[in-house]
Amino acid sequence: MDEILKILQTNALEPRGSIARMLELSVEEVNQRVADYEKRGVIRGYQAILNEDQLDLDKVTAVIEVKVTPQREGGFDTIAERISRFPEVRSAYLMSGTYDLLLFVEGKNLRAVAGFVSERLAALEGVLSTSTHFMLKTYKRFGILMRQEPSDERLTITP
């Protein structure tokens, strides 16, 4: 993978001038490559990674395993894209194994999610079954531990 993407994945706010220095490129080159990735849709957006457990939000997240019937034309894509369009669905993946789609669904509370599953999701043509698990606590997201790491324990000067 292009190192520019790696750096942006670690810190999307890294100034372009810094990236240029790190990779020994000109700022123009970095800008141009990032613009190109944005244009091609490789970079889909930039978001903050929140530790939502600290925010005491009125929100629950469910992980839902879904079995579906692939469609004659479009296979899993048609049904998966239809499901993905619901704003409640935050992430959706096609999986190997005992079920087909894995969804991360957000709702105001347990009832809201249950309502979404029974009235929207399970009711869709092609959805065979669902299995819903509610998330209790987040330890790590996008490679970042949610617990504050202890500060640097190294001595300040070592040979």
């Binding site: 190192e3 220095r21 790190m22 020994e24 000067i157 070592t158 040979p159």
Partner: protein, 391 residues
């Protein structure tokens, strides 16, 4: 005085006469200050890879808490021999030619004590790691300094060595990639030294602890050169490439007679390296490329950043090619290394190590370690630029 003035006079003369590391004094000043960004730390900022830590816990649970063979677990020595063959290009017999030690520091001490008779001369290059000179002296050797220069990229040349050769010269000590200069030696550079060592029949101690950390070209090990394996004690360990400094685990590879002699001292003074650290090392060797690759990439970015920042602020610095140190000249500031470091610390709260801590010829330079987060590197460069602008 405070009660027992006579004790000082009873100390071993060699120990008494060696000054404590210059880095120590500076450390005391730095630790008294708050919110310092330190470019003075000679150890990785990365955590030890989790699989290594996790398997160390498992080893503890499983009861790997006993003495090991003096040489170290045979399983580990086999893995080490395999790693050295693959990465450094020399073949060693794990049964007789590999010794697991408490860091490279102990391996170096063993090597010198095993080789030196009082008065034997050891050629070593400065600026260098702070303990070389003292370790030679403790082993009753005579340290003979060979000064390396920025014009040469702080590399060692045959001509420099020839000038210091005497009939008492017995050992040549090398450390590339180098702490504190970040210098490396190419295969061609090493070939000259190899020829010199062969012709002058010297034993070579090659400390290649930073061997994995090179940024523009892969490291060439001295022991991969023809005829050098037979006269070299190769030293390496886990502190730098795997970020395992606190595990204190190193090793030496050398012909059996040399390892046997080192093992004798090790056996009577240390017995063996920590069993848990040995288990950790074994796990580290299971997937070195994955662990080290990421860290090297990050160090390279920081090296690039620092080199560019120095160039912009007009600080003269040879290109650091390995380890995680930059060694810029601060001569243009008109300050001594120590004054520069002290003023930078007081005014901008950035800690660097005065170059003279690494030998007299390090005067006029400071060591900046980039084993700290990119954010810290960036902030340190901003402060350094401001500091220099006032000069």
């Amino acid at each position: 005085m405070n009660g027992s003035p006579s004790l000082h006079s009873r100390l071993n003369a060699a120990v008494r006469d060696i000054p404590r590391s210059g880095i120590r004094d500076f450390f005391d000043i730095v630790t008294s200050m708050k919110e310092v960004i330190s470019l003075g730390i000679g150890e990785p900022d990365f955590d030890t890879p989790w699989h290594v830590r996790e398997s160390t816990v498992f080893a503890l649970e499983r009861g790997a808490t006993h003495y090991t063979s003096n040489l170290g677990y045979l399983e580990l020595r086999r893995a080490l021999a395999g790693y050295v063959r693959k990465v450094f290009g020399a073949q060693y017999n794990p049964e007789t030619e590999v010794l697991v030690t408490v860091g490279v520091s102990q391996a170096l001490d063993l090597a010198l004590r095993a080789l030196l008779n009082p008065g034997d001369e050891v050629l070593y290059h400065e600026p260098c790691y702070v303990s070389y000179r003292a370790t030679i002296l403790f082993a009753h050797g005579v340290p003979v300094i060979v000064e390396t220069r920025p014009e040469n990229g702080f590399r060692l040349t045959r001509a420099l060595l020839e000038a210091k050769l005497t009939p008492r010269t017995k050992v040549l000590m090398l450390n590339f990639p180098n702490n504190p200069t970040g210098a490396v030696m190419s295969r061609a550079d090493l070939a000259d030294l190899a020829a010199f060592a062969r012709e002058r029949d010297l034993i070579v101690i090659s400390d290649e602890i930073y061997g994995e950390l090179t940024y523009d070209a892969p490291h060439t090990s001295l022991v991969s050169l023809p005829g050098l394996r037979e006269r070299t004690i190769f030293l390496h360990g886990f502190s730098k490439a795997w970020a395992m400094t606190g595990f204190r685990l190193g090793y030496a590879c050398a012909p059996a007679e040399l390892i046997e002699a080192m093992m004798k001292i090790h056996q009577y003074t240390m017995l063996c390296a920590s069993s848990l650290s040995q288990k950790a090392a074994l796990e580290a060797l299971a997937r070195p490329a994955a662990d080290i690759g990421e860290m090297v990439q990050e160090y390279r970015r920081r090296r690039n950043f620092i080199a560019a920042a120095f160039a912009e602020m007009g600080l003269d610095c040879h290109r650091p090619l390995g380890a995680f140190y930059a060694f810029p000249s601060i001569a243009a500031s008109g300050l001594s290394s120590t004054d520069f470091a002290l003023q930078l610390l007081k005014e901008e709260k950035v800690a660097v190590v005065p170059g003279n801590a690494f030998g007299a010829c390090g005067e006029g330079f400071v060591r900046c370690a980039y084993a700290t987060s990119m954010a810290n590197v960036q902030e340190a460069m901003t402060r350094l630029k401001r500091f220099l602008a006032r000069r």
